[in-house]
Point group: C2
Chain length 114, copies 2
Protein backbone atom coordinates (compact mmCIF):
# COMPACT_ATOMS: atom_id res chain seq x y z
CA UNK A 1 0.00 0.00 0.00
CA UNK A 2 1.32 3.36 -1.03
CA UNK A 3 1.50 5.93 1.74
CA UNK A 4 -0.66 9.04 1.53
CA UNK A 5 0.70 12.17 3.20
CA UNK A 6 0.33 11.06 6.79
CA UNK A 7 0.39 13.56 9.60
CA UNK A 8 3.64 12.03 10.76
CA UNK A 9 5.30 12.53 7.41
CA UNK A 10 4.40 16.19 7.57
CA UNK A 11 5.90 16.65 11.02
CA UNK A 12 9.03 14.76 9.98
CA UNK A 13 9.48 17.02 6.99
CA UNK A 14 8.78 20.09 9.07
CA UNK A 15 11.36 19.01 11.61
CA UNK A 16 13.94 18.40 8.88
CA UNK A 17 13.14 21.83 7.51
CA UNK A 18 13.63 23.69 10.76
CA UNK A 19 16.81 21.73 11.41
CA UNK A 20 18.08 22.44 7.91
CA UNK A 21 17.57 26.15 8.43
CA UNK A 22 19.21 26.15 11.85
CA UNK A 23 22.75 26.17 10.46
CA UNK A 24 24.29 29.39 9.17
CA UNK A 25 26.41 27.74 6.49
CA UNK A 26 23.38 25.96 5.08
CA UNK A 27 21.37 29.17 5.06
CA UNK A 28 24.24 30.90 3.26
CA UNK A 29 24.30 28.17 0.62
CA UNK A 30 20.55 28.43 0.20
CA UNK A 31 20.66 32.21 0.02
CA UNK A 32 23.33 32.03 -2.66
CA UNK A 33 21.28 29.57 -4.69
CA UNK A 34 18.28 31.87 -4.40
CA UNK A 35 20.24 34.92 -5.53
CA UNK A 36 22.37 33.34 -8.22
CA UNK A 37 20.28 30.44 -9.41
CA UNK A 38 21.48 26.91 -10.17
CA UNK A 39 25.07 26.22 -9.09
CA UNK A 40 27.51 23.33 -9.16
CA UNK A 41 29.00 21.90 -5.99
CA UNK A 42 32.33 23.26 -7.16
CA UNK A 43 31.00 26.81 -7.36
CA UNK A 44 29.26 26.50 -4.01
CA UNK A 45 32.44 25.21 -2.39
CA UNK A 46 34.31 28.25 -3.67
CA UNK A 47 32.01 30.66 -1.81
CA UNK A 48 31.18 28.60 1.25
CA UNK A 49 34.31 28.77 3.36
CA UNK A 50 34.16 25.05 4.15
CA UNK A 51 35.52 21.96 2.43
CA UNK A 52 33.87 20.32 -0.56
CA UNK A 53 32.73 17.21 1.37
CA UNK A 54 31.08 19.49 3.91
CA UNK A 55 29.28 21.35 1.14
CA UNK A 56 28.02 18.04 -0.22
CA UNK A 57 26.73 17.06 3.19
CA UNK A 58 25.00 20.39 3.75
CA UNK A 59 23.41 20.14 0.32
CA UNK A 60 22.27 16.65 1.21
CA UNK A 61 20.42 17.96 4.23
CA UNK A 62 18.89 20.80 2.27
CA UNK A 63 17.77 18.26 -0.29
CA UNK A 64 16.30 16.02 2.38
CA UNK A 65 14.36 19.01 3.69
CA UNK A 66 13.20 19.57 0.11
CA UNK A 67 14.74 23.02 -0.01
CA UNK A 68 16.87 22.21 -3.06
CA UNK A 69 16.87 19.82 -5.97
CA UNK A 70 19.88 18.24 -7.64
CA UNK A 71 20.56 17.70 -11.32
CA UNK A 72 23.44 15.53 -12.45
CA UNK A 73 25.16 16.64 -15.63
CA UNK A 74 28.22 14.64 -16.54
CA UNK A 75 30.57 14.77 -13.59
CA UNK A 76 28.97 17.89 -12.17
CA UNK A 77 25.92 18.16 -9.95
CA UNK A 78 23.87 21.32 -10.14
CA UNK A 79 21.75 22.34 -7.21
CA UNK A 80 18.73 24.61 -7.38
CA UNK A 81 16.70 26.27 -4.65
CA UNK A 82 13.24 24.76 -4.57
CA UNK A 83 10.47 27.31 -4.80
CA UNK A 84 7.90 25.75 -2.52
CA UNK A 85 10.29 24.26 -0.03
CA UNK A 86 9.61 26.81 2.66
CA UNK A 87 5.85 26.36 2.50
CA UNK A 88 5.58 24.17 5.62
CA UNK A 89 7.50 26.76 7.61
CA UNK A 90 5.31 29.52 6.28
CA UNK A 91 2.28 27.50 7.25
CA UNK A 92 3.63 27.00 10.73
CA UNK A 93 4.37 30.69 11.03
CA UNK A 94 0.88 31.53 9.87
CA UNK A 95 -0.48 29.69 12.90
CA UNK A 96 2.19 30.37 15.51
CA UNK A 97 3.39 33.73 14.27
CA UNK A 98 0.77 35.76 12.55
CA UNK A 99 -2.28 34.46 14.37
CA UNK A 100 -0.49 34.68 17.61
CA UNK A 101 -0.69 38.47 17.90
CA UNK A 102 -4.44 38.29 17.44
CA UNK A 103 -4.83 35.13 19.42
CA UNK A 104 -8.14 35.83 21.04
CA UNK A 105 -10.07 36.69 17.92
CA UNK A 106 -8.39 34.39 15.46
CA UNK A 107 -8.48 31.13 17.37
CA UNK A 108 -12.20 31.29 17.92
CA UNK A 109 -12.99 31.01 14.23
CA UNK A 110 -10.45 28.32 13.46
CA UNK A 111 -11.20 25.43 15.73
CA UNK A 112 -7.79 23.97 15.10
CA UNK A 113 -8.56 20.85 17.07
CA UNK A 114 -7.11 21.66 20.46
Amino acid sequence: MIAPPYQEDRSVLRDALFKALSDGTRRALLEYLVREGEQSVHALTAISGVSQPMVSRHLGKLKQARLVTARRAGRETYYTARAKGLAPVVQWMAVYGALWSQRFSALEGLGDGE
Copy 2:
Protein backbone atom coordinates in the same frame (compact mmCIF):
# COMPACT_ATOMS: atom_id res chain seq x y z
CA MET B 1 29.12 54.32 23.94
CA ILE B 2 25.79 52.60 23.79
CA ALA B 3 25.39 50.09 20.99
CA PRO B 4 22.87 50.72 18.24
CA PRO B 5 21.36 47.67 16.54
CA TYR B 6 24.43 46.54 14.64
CA GLN B 7 24.18 44.20 11.69
CA GLU B 8 26.04 41.61 13.71
CA ASP B 9 23.53 41.76 16.53
CA ARG B 10 20.78 41.12 14.03
CA SER B 11 22.46 38.07 12.59
CA VAL B 12 23.24 36.75 16.07
CA LEU B 13 19.61 37.06 17.07
CA ARG B 14 18.44 35.52 13.81
CA ASP B 15 20.78 32.60 14.35
CA ALA B 16 19.53 32.12 17.91
CA LEU B 17 15.99 32.23 16.55
CA PHE B 18 16.50 29.57 13.90
CA LYS B 19 18.35 27.41 16.41
CA ALA B 20 15.61 27.89 19.00
CA LEU B 21 13.00 26.74 16.51
CA SER B 22 15.04 23.75 15.38
CA ASP B 23 14.08 21.60 18.35
CA GLY B 24 10.69 19.87 18.48
CA THR B 25 10.31 20.09 22.24
CA ARG B 26 10.95 23.82 22.17
CA ARG B 27 8.45 24.31 19.37
CA ALA B 28 5.90 22.29 21.34
CA LEU B 29 6.44 24.51 24.38
CA LEU B 30 6.09 27.61 22.25
CA GLU B 31 2.99 26.29 20.53
CA TYR B 32 1.42 25.52 23.88
CA LEU B 33 2.17 29.01 25.16
CA VAL B 34 0.62 30.47 22.01
CA ARG B 35 -2.53 28.38 22.34
CA GLU B 36 -3.01 28.55 26.09
CA GLY B 37 -1.36 31.81 27.03
CA GLU B 38 0.91 32.47 30.01
CA GLN B 39 2.01 29.32 31.86
CA SER B 40 4.18 28.41 34.81
CA VAL B 41 7.21 26.16 34.46
CA HIS B 42 5.33 23.62 36.51
CA ALA B 43 2.43 23.52 34.04
CA LEU B 44 4.78 23.38 31.06
CA THR B 45 6.70 20.51 32.62
CA ALA B 46 3.47 18.57 33.01
CA ILE B 47 2.75 18.66 29.28
CA SER B 48 6.29 18.54 27.91
CA GLY B 49 7.35 14.96 28.44
CA VAL B 50 10.78 16.00 29.71
CA SER B 51 12.16 16.85 33.14
CA GLN B 52 11.67 20.21 34.82
CA PRO B 53 15.32 21.26 34.48
CA MET B 54 15.13 20.55 30.77
CA VAL B 55 12.00 22.68 30.48
CA SER B 56 13.81 25.51 32.25
CA ARG B 57 16.71 25.22 29.84
CA HIS B 58 14.48 25.15 26.77
CA LEU B 59 12.62 28.18 28.05
CA GLY B 60 15.97 29.87 28.59
CA LYS B 61 16.83 29.41 24.92
CA LEU B 62 13.43 30.60 23.80
CA LYS B 63 13.90 33.63 25.99
CA GLN B 64 17.36 34.28 24.58
CA ALA B 65 15.86 34.14 21.10
CA ARG B 66 13.25 36.63 22.33
CA LEU B 67 10.40 34.26 21.60
CA VAL B 68 9.12 34.32 25.18
CA THR B 69 9.22 36.59 28.19
CA ALA B 70 9.36 35.55 31.84
CA ARG B 71 7.51 36.99 34.80
CA ARG B 72 8.44 36.01 38.33
CA ALA B 73 5.54 35.81 40.79
CA GLY B 74 6.47 34.50 44.19
CA ARG B 75 8.14 31.16 43.69
CA GLU B 76 6.59 30.62 40.29
CA THR B 77 7.82 31.89 36.95
CA TYR B 78 5.28 32.51 34.25
CA TYR B 79 6.34 32.43 30.62
CA THR B 80 4.51 34.13 27.78
CA ALA B 81 4.92 33.82 24.02
CA ARG B 82 6.27 37.06 22.61
CA ALA B 83 4.20 38.44 19.77
CA LYS B 84 6.91 39.97 17.64
CA GLY B 85 9.58 37.37 18.30
CA LEU B 86 9.25 35.69 14.93
CA ALA B 87 9.62 38.94 12.99
CA PRO B 88 13.26 38.38 11.97
CA VAL B 89 12.38 34.95 10.60
CA VAL B 90 9.43 36.40 8.72
CA GLN B 91 11.74 39.03 7.29
CA TRP B 92 14.20 36.41 6.19
CA MET B 93 11.43 34.39 4.59
CA ALA B 94 10.20 37.47 2.81
CA VAL B 95 13.55 37.73 1.09
CA TYR B 96 14.53 34.10 0.62
CA GLY B 97 11.03 32.72 0.31
CA ALA B 98 9.03 35.29 -1.57
CA LEU B 99 11.78 36.58 -3.81
CA TRP B 100 12.61 33.07 -4.67
CA SER B 101 9.00 32.16 -5.43
CA GLN B 102 8.87 35.18 -7.66
CA ARG B 103 11.88 34.00 -9.58
CA PHE B 104 10.22 30.71 -10.37
CA SER B 105 6.55 31.52 -10.04
CA ALA B 106 6.11 31.59 -13.79
CA LEU B 107 7.18 27.97 -13.99
CA GLU B 108 5.90 26.45 -10.82
CA GLY B 109 2.98 28.44 -9.47
CA LEU B 110 2.35 28.84 -5.77
CA GLY B 111 0.33 25.85 -4.61
CA ASP B 112 1.55 23.64 -1.79
CA GLY B 113 1.54 20.41 -3.74
CA GLU B 114 4.54 18.70 -5.30
